[in-house]
Symmetry: C2
Subunit: 185 residues, 2 copies
DNA sequence: TAAAATACTTATTTACTAATAAGTTTGCAA
DNA sequence: TTGCAAACTTATTAGTAAATAAGTATTTTA
């Protein structure tokens, strides 16, 4: 099963968005490596904002499949897998998609913002639910409610993908382990 | 004491950097509101990277004065004031300077990166010291070492300035209070 | 097999961007 | 009062950006 041009554009766009930032890459950065013309990118995504929408939808799709795959796992394992996923983001020199969109927020059109908001709520709700589940099972400990804890975990881990660009690798593992130690009994 | 043109450029540049992102604003966005020509901006800062260096240095300067002013305060109050400072960032619709630079990291020249690194270490060290101090005084609790705790607090709070652009205001206060509750006895 | 949709390319436009060279004005110092 | 430096403006350039119109080849469908 070969990847379609459309799919390749989305994946490369996502890569550039998270490595360089939304306003730091151009259609030429996408068309050159794919050996197509910039007009071909416009054929699939008439405007850059359309591409941003597609990237956000792609992430929703990936996350849906991820959460389905994890549905039967223990809360503890869900959290660990989630944090490991961020570790792989860090290793590939990207930042998290939520942070990437957030810093460029004011250059995004409403249609993009809406998709990003929906994706983010998807993640926060998934985290909130696993935390509540973990609390009920006595696997987790926290004095805060589930959503607040979810926000704390999400913000800590996605900020780390950004912060370690500045401070260096070793700090990522520190933060990741610290989160696990803090919440898991 | 009136603000010099140079100072005005730095302040407006900082504002734009943190509201829109480094690659989302131009010299025209600076010169127009100040009612000068774009060449006047280049007179003070020949390249955009030079402006970025000046913005980073400005933040180091502000932080130095802040930490001097707080030197005699209790660790608990230092932390509270620090978090309140981020609250004001949030209210002015900006993101934290560390996160703003981090997402645009790969479009920054080494001279900018170095200044940002030094500023970030300044903040982390200040936080680490106040945490150690608080632990010694029995005002704080944490199972982690001081630097790790500092990283957790810093990443949580600066990510929140980004995250709440997406999820909405109320989540900022949640996270801020949650940090205080977690560490302060 | 004709036509219509798909997946592009060629070619161009409009707009903006950072950057610079060459003036001009103003104030101060010798 | 001359001269020189600081703080600009005027004017321009070279490059890049997103976007679009119009054409072409290939595949699909009726």
């Amino acid at each position: 099963m070969s990847t379609s041009t459309r799919e390749k554009i989305i994946q490369l766009g996502d890569d550039l968005l998270r490595k360089q930032g939304f306003n730091a890459f151009s259609y030429a950065d996408i068309s050159k490596p794919l050996q197509i013309k910039n007009a071909a990118v416009h054929y699939y995504f008439p405007s850059k904002q359309d591409l941003a929408v597609a990237i956000a939808l792609w992430h929703k799709d990936i996350f849906d499949r991820f959460s389905q795959k994890m549905a039967n796992k223990e809360p503890k394992d869900k959290l660990k897998t989630f944090l490991n996923f961020y570790h792989s983001i860090h290793l590939s020199e990207k930042v998290d998609i939520i942070g990437a969109f957030a810093t460029d927020w004011h250059s995004l059109e409403p249609k993009v913002q809406t998709e990003v908001q929906e994706f983010t709520e998807l993640v926060i709700n998934w985290l909130s639910e696993l935390i509540q589940e973990g609390l009920d099972l006595g696997q987790f400990r926290t004095t805060q409610n589930a959503r607040t804890t979810a926000l704390r975990i999400l913000s800590s881990i996605f900020a780390s993908t950004q912060l370690v660009r500045i401070t260096g690798d070793h700090d990522f593992t520190r933060v990741k382990n610290s989160i696990l130690e803090e919440f898991i009994n």
